[in-house]
Subunit: 350 residues, 2 copies
Amino acid sequence: MKSFEKNIRKVEPYVPGEQPQKKVIKLNTNENPYPPAPGVERALKSMDMDRMRLYPDPTAGELVKALASYYHVDEDQVFVGVGSDDVLSMCFLTFFNSEKPIFFPDITYSFYKVWADLYRIPYECCPVDDNFRIVKEDYYRENGGVIFPNPNAPTGLYMELHDVEDIIARNQDVIVIIDEAYIDFAGKSALELIDKYENLIVVQTFSKARSMAGMRIGYAISNPLLIKYLNDAKYSFNSYTMNQAAIVAGVEAVKDRKYFEEGVCKIIKTRDWAKKELERIGFSCLDSRANFIFAAHPEYEAKELFELLKSKGIYVRYWGSDRIEQYMRITVGTKEEMEALISLLEGRML
Amino acid sequence: MKSFEKNIRKVEPYVPGEQPQKKVIKLNTNENPYPPAPGVERALKSMDMDRMRLYPDPTAGELVKALASYYHVDEDQVFVGVGSDDVLSMCFLTFFNSEKPIFFPDITYSFYKVWADLYRIPYECCPVDDNFRIVKEDYYRENGGVIFPNPNAPTGLYMELHDVEDIIARNQDVIVIIDEAYIDFAGKSALELIDKYENLIVVQTFSKARSMAGMRIGYAISNPLLIKYLNDAKYSFNSYTMNQAAIVAGVEAVKDRKYFEEGVCKIIKTRDWAKKELERIGFSCLDSRANFIFAAHPEYEAKELFELLKSKGIYVRYWGSDRIEQYMRITVGTKEEMEALISLLEGRML
């Protein structure tokens, strides 16, 4: 080891996700099977090249304005970032500075632990119950902050808004972040509680329902005070994060409410159909309200099915980790993609 | 104060830079007056919208490949990020974990202090001499790492490569980062020392010589070991940072060597002409090797000149801070823009 290596940050080695080059059916990262709103293409094609040589607007003002208008909030209630990962990471850094542990579920988005470690935030994982449901009472104890996704990942289970509200209401001395990456496929958003609770932040993304994973746009909506704290933190150490292409493309994606709603409907319809089909061939599926299905088969190892699908060019997600070793997470693709998946699985089960 | 506010990170409040809406001459943020290479526009106009719905390649492989080919290094020697601010911040986080202070100049890029504070890295500022030159011997003492820009900002002074090499050679137990945002306008890059010193990282950007501040692209070049540490850190907590538009646009900007070199020549020519003109009307200018000129007038307050220019729609940068209160930093624009600036200043001096 070189002497300078002793001061290098040690992290869990990471292997980038599979990026198959050949033509495959990609149901492994919860991307949307449909392209973004047509306005996005028009916006990118008519980008002013002279604008490119200039730094982007550090406030991403046009995008903030479009989001504020869409969600009927004020512009000072919106914070944008490079994907919801960037927004969530910034929230951890800004709001979770207590000595008490923050709380999040044991089965949940894996990056919460990573950011807590990165910023040296103590945390405690609250186990979901045997049906993979978040137990709201676990979050009533003293803590340094709360975060969970709704619907939760990778289960897809949605917590009714009155239960979400109970958690927010019982934690008014700390910040509660509801990570709503998949909310558009689910039910009521906690956004309607923003004016009622000063400790609430709702985070959403353009990567799922808005078909724009490739552009890296996420946002937080809250009250002006918390948004100001977020912006102060962000501006203080990286002023220019959203590039010009993301800003102009994002604005157009937000504007097209009709395209967005139709796309979401199509995915929900395919999800509900695919879930029934999976159950027909023996799978047990959680009640997913996201754009993926979390499914296990009582007679076949998830690992084996995962490998079989992969060998045939259908990629789904499998972790094999504690409590979920029998589950695969299957992104909802087009009807044709789901038919191919089900037909292949059914063939194995005959 | 709400009770949750006690755990919110306190930072220096930040006011975003002036973004004048009316038509002005913008010489305040070191942007390039010329548009990016023509291929950039073509690449954005022909972007595959189906690619947009998918997560970008987390390795930004095409861009890494283009940079490796341009600089004649291997692909595992290149790290890319969302502007060089992102790359530098990631370097601080990854490499500066010693208990000993890192060293950088007192007059330099203001974000070094910010990242050191953010990551709780001890630091010590080494004063530049009375001619604003970095004193290389100051960096020969024991430290936790070294970073400085070459040319330095906001002075524009270039340190000859043999002096840079002395600092690298005398610090082989720690990481030395040379921040070369402006190197293309200057002289020899430390890139030629990459194979000779295992402790060296060179960071560059697309925002200046490549006219792409709006796309947020920066990169580090080093040996495969240090690049692996950087990638491990980055992937471990945010896998997808470079969006698809930045990747395709970046590739085209790198490919067009001729356009790049011609653009740099034009700016150097305008800089050297403008510097002589400023001297003709009484300014004393440092020997700038960047795309800006750091200038003071013995008889006029910099603040007054800054305000005068601003009132006439010409924006330059003025800090008024310790040691540089008499200086303005003037970005090199087009010849016409510089003529307008000089003519206005000359009018005041008659």
